[in-house]
């Protein structure tokens, strides 16, 4: 079966790249991405497994969709040589991020109306709502803070919805979260024999379990409303591998072989409205609230000292944040629909706490897309997202270990996406 095949591919560890603020990845539906990522309360499809399981019952039949995005992203950084006077060095560093390829696959199965289960709809999904992949290289200015990082969290989600009335549905999901992290940092050692002394931390997380719930309400042909809650969970790596490249003479100072770490995935509360003024035109808005304040520090504990330290702690001090989305669809012909939208994604990172792993700032996303129904059963969606993060100056506060560097960051990204959907 197709979905299983895809799960397999995702589990093989295809590289992911976070391209929303914090380390969220809001690329879970090509059709939604084409209209500003509006999805909580807007016309449901198979991606409702992710956006709002309460809407699954509103599909006209069973449907499966698979798709993915290509993330071309880039961040540049210019270091401050005098933070007090705001004077910069004359160097600019740029990330060499790997191409991010987040995938998603959803299936919604609707029992026949004659079935005793006809009020229920069942769904399954595999998606990657969190991840980050940043590669600054070995020789850049902040190499002791970070050379390269990749985080990933893969959700495997069975879902069920119940149709309370014809216009009101609720849904519940159980989430199995797999994940892992790999971080490489340079060590402040110059050596004649070891080219790039560094420490590499690589580990897979224990499976975490969480849930989400959604409500979808469609009181008329012109309006629909949705609410969704995805519960946050801590993902822990126990006994990940520590790989050290240090000159032999210094190895007594670098004895660590394993590490433990915990990364909190925040809760996301979202609400949205769909408005359908004519047969051809529909409009939607979404608001999300993300409990990023759960992320206080990034901490690695070692089994034995590394450079004299038993742990590495970087203050993160995130604050809760919001995302606002607006978008619409226009049905040009019966088979062909054009979409457009935009969103504003507020950064959870406080001033001074930017780090090379998430060079975060408030971001605008501009999107456009097309949907084409090839046959009665098969449809293709394509979308394009241009994302630009505001240029942001980061001055590391004194006395706080943020693991960051002082300077100015600016990032943008280009994210085409494609998906195929099959109705049955």
């Amino acid at each position: 079966m197709r979905i299983r095949y895809l799960v397999f591919m995702v589990l093989l560890g295809l590289p992911l790249a976070g391209w929303s603020n914090g380390f969220q990845v809001n690329l879970q539906g090509t059709r939604q991405q084409g209209r500003g990522n509006v999805g909580y309360g807007f016309r449901p499809d198979a991606s409702s497994v992710f956006y709002n399981p309460g809407a699954m019952g509103f599909l006209s039949g069973s449907q499966a969709v698979i798709g993915g995005s290509l993330i071309f992203s880039n961040t540049v950084f210019s270091p401050l040589s005098d933070a007090d006077l705001g004077i910069y060095t004359d160097q600019v560093y740029s990330t060499d991020n790997p191409l991010g390829t987040p995938f998603f696959a959803y299936g919604v199965f609707k029992p026949q109306e004659t079935s005793s289960l006809s009020n229920f709809t069942f769904g399954v999904g595999v998606f990657t709502p969190f991840g980050s992949s940043v590669d600054w290289g070995e020789d850049w200015y902040g190499q002791y803070a970070l050379q390269e990082i990749s985080l990933e969290a893969i959700y495997i989600r069975p879902a069920v919805s119940y149709q309370i009335t014809e216009s009101l549905g609720i849904g519940l999901t159980l989430d199995f979260i797999l994940g892992g992290a790999e971080v490489t940092r340079g060590l402040p050692i110059n050596s004649a024999t070891v080219n790039d002394p560094n420490v590499n931390l690589d580990g897979n997380a224990d499976v975490a379990i969480s849930f989400s719930a959604g409500v979808y309400f469609q009181p008329s042909d012109q309006w629909s409303f949705g609410l969704n809650y995805r519960h946050g969970v801590d993902v822990s790596i126990v006994k990940g591998d520590v790989d050290l490249e240090v000159p032999e003479q210094l190895s007594p100072l670098f004895q660590g072989t394993t590490f433990d770490a915990t990364l909190p995935l925040p809760s996301v509360i979202g609400g949205g409205i769909g408005y359908y003024p004519t047969d051809r035109l529909s409009l939607g808005v979404d608001v999300s609230f993300i409990t990023w304040s759960d992320y206080e520090e990034l901490r690695f504990d070692f089994d034995a000292p590394i450079g004299g330290e038993l742990s590495s702690v970087s203050e993160r001090n995130y604050k809760n944040s919001w995302i606002f989305n607006i978008g619409g669809e226009y049905k040009v012909t019966d088979a062909f629909t054009a979409t457009a939208g935009m969103y504003y994604d507020l950064s959870p990172v406080e001033d001074g706490f930017m780090s090379p792993e998430t060079p975060d700032s408030d971001a605008f996303g501009f999107t456009a897309g097309v949907a084409y129904q090839v046959t009665e059963k098969i449809g293709i969606n394509g979308s394009f997202l241009f994302l630009t993060k505001r240029e942001r100056e980061n001055i590391v506060p004194s006395g706080v270990e943020t693991g960051g560097v002082s300077g100015t960051y600016k990032s943008n990204g280009f994210i085409p996406s494609i998906a195929v959907q099959y109705s049955f």
Partner: protein, 553 residues
């Protein structure tokens, strides 16, 4: 894809400018077209105990000049050494190249080796007429007005054209006609005294024109004033002067703490007993010579064994023989060995007598009290754990002195001390084996020497402060404060940590005195920051991460 990657985000943050303001707030366009660096080894880029090319390439003047190129400065010319290990400044037999770290001993001490020197390191450079870096290793402020320095200092002579060989340093600098200068002199006016353990006194070594002494405040002030006046006399040359860091905080004086003698309690007990035995032995000798021996000889005279006429010469002869070999004095002065053996036997019997033992006990106690009063530390006291190091001291009645807090051991004693620790660890507490491993006066700074150094630094920095206050063309870069910050608190510059620790601290090179390329980069940045702040300039700094600290194998 090419289209996509061509849309990389752009930053427009750098805007270098040499438009600034002078001390009175007037708009000034600073002219960096002829930046001349005045100074000693620290300015030359001396590092790891030698002047060698890599160190020179990251000298702080070279790094500053590179940043000044953004505001119109030309390429900076330095008297680069030939490729290789460079030179330590010695001519002839002592000539060596840079230090390299080859590993660590079992006890964790760094193992250092010298590289071979560069070939013909002191041959005059080809760019003598266009030099910008006039850092001369070993240069003292006091020497700068003296003619003929080029004939004494090989590093200076290689920077001079033959016609300048007899010119003074000041003349050469003024002749180079700087439009801008940095000035860091005065360190060696105190450092020679400190690194020689103050062994020649504040006047210095009379055989070497007072080298290794401390320059007097009046001479320092006069030379400093004259030099700066000459440099700024044209009314359009600006400069940055740097003060004198506290030399006693650098690893050369701190890498070996005064109390680095680690003993377990058993060893401490044995060591205390050994010292007590040493004193008792000396006192016993004294009692034998002054009390016992005259009585014994008088007895022999009255017994008719020897004639009275020989009484005094026998006492003198035996005393001489006894001091040479107390356990078995060998006959001298024409007396027979039998007679000497007879005396030795009687003395030994006398020493067993309770009355004599009592006398020796009392005399030992008196001696200890007296020594402790007149020369504290001459009788070391050991305990389990860290103990003050013992050094050789010719002025001490025991020949020894135990260091106390506030005194310093020089890094140059490290090899001896490593051997000392090994000897003690292997159970050898034989005084004869230990004595040559103890540091000498030339390898320690006692309280008086420390005070001389601290007083001088304070005076020098006061003088420099006054010169800056009186001259509107110069500003002060307080490098004294930056050394203190690095050494006492450590500095974290965007993940690059610098401390004053030897080898691992990142700031100081393997000689414990001079800086690493990264240390020099820090100085360059801080100096640039001072210029930006004081003169309202906008000159970018360098990235410390691009410059290495101590290189491990």
């Amino acid at each position: 894809m090419f289209l996509l990657s061509s849309c990389d985000p752009k930053l427009d943050t750098v805007n270098p400018s040499n438009q600034g303001q002078d001390a009175s707030g007037n708009e000034v366009t600073f002219d960096f077209t002829n930046y001349v660096a005045v100074g000693n080894s620290l300015t030359a880029g001396f590092s790891d105990g030698a002047l060698y090319r890599e160190g020179q390439e990251s000298s702080y003047p070279a790094l500053i000049a590179e940043q000044l190129q953004a505001v119109g400065a030309p390429v900076f010319e330095q008297p680069l050494m030939p490729e290789g290990g460079g030179a330590n400044g010695a001519v002839g037999a002592g000539l060596e190249g840079r230090l390299i770290l080859t590993g660590f001993s079992e006890s964790g001490l760094p193992v250092l080796e010298r590289e071979a020197p560069s070939d013909n390191p002191y041959t005059a450079v080809s760019n003598v007429d266009s030099l910008h870096n006039y850092g001369v290793p070993g240069l003292r402020l006091i020497e700068t007005a003296a003619a003929g320095l080029g004939t004494l200092n090989p590093f200076f002579s290689r920077m001079l054209s033959t016609s300048d060989l007899l010119s003074s340093y000041q003349e050469v600098i003024v002749q180079s006609d700087p439009t801008f200068f940095t000035f860091w002199l005065g360190n060696n006016d105190i450092l020679g005294y400190a690194t020689s353990g103050g062994v020649f006194g504040v006047e210095g070594n009379p055989d070497l024109l007072g080298l290794n002494g401390i320059t007097s405040a009046s001479a320092f002030e006069l030379t400093y004033n004259t030099f700066i006046e000459n440099l700024t006399a044209d009314g359009q040359t600006y400069g940055v002067v740097m003060n004198i860091p506290d030399v006693l905080q650098i690893p050369f004086f701190t890498a070996i703490p005064w109390n680095s003698l680690e003993l377990d309690s058993a060893t401490a007990t044995v060591a205390n007993a050994t010292i007590a035995q040493l004193i008792r032995g000396q006192v016993t000798q004294e009692v034998v010579v002054t009390v016992v021996l005259p009585t014994v000889v008088a007895g022999l005279v009255s017994a008719g064994v020897i004639p009275e006429s020989q009484q005094e010469s026998l006492i003198l002869a035996y005393t001489q023989a006894y001091i040479e070999n107390p356990s078995m004095p060998q006959a001298v002065g024409g007396f027979s060995q039998d007679l000497f053996d007879q005396i030795t036997q009687i003395i030994n019997t006398e020493l067993q007598k309770d009355t004599v033992v009592l006398i020796i006990n009392q005399a030992t106690q008196n001696a200890i009290t007296e020594i402790n009063q007149t020369t504290p530390g001459a009788i070391p006291e050991f305990q389990a754990g860290a103990n003050g190091l013992i050094v050789q001291d010719l002025n001490s009645p025991t020949g020894l002195k135990q260091l106390t807090e506030g005194e310093y051991v020089l890094l140059s004693a490290s090899e001896k001390l490593a051997q000392l620790q090994e000897t003690i660890a292997s159970g050898g507490l034989d005084l004869l084996a230990i004595l040559p491993l103890l540091p000498t006066d030339a390898e320690v700074l006692d309280k008086e020497e420390v005070e001389n150094i601290e007083t001088a630094i304070e005076m020098y920095n006061g003088i420099i402060r006054n010169v800056v206050d009186d001259n509107e063309f110069i500003i002060l870069y307080d490098v004294y404060a930056d050394y203190e910050q690095v050494i006492e608190q450590g500095v974290n510059d965007n993940g690059v940590v610098l401390t004053g620790d030897f080898v691992t601290g990142g700031a100081f090179s393997l000689d414990g005195i001079h800086l690493t390329p990264r240390g020099y980069a820090y100085v360059a940045n801080r100096l640039i920051q001072t210029m930006n702040r004081e003169w309202k300039l906008n000159i970018p700094g360098v990235n410390l991460i691009d410059y290495r600290a101590v290189e491990y194998p």
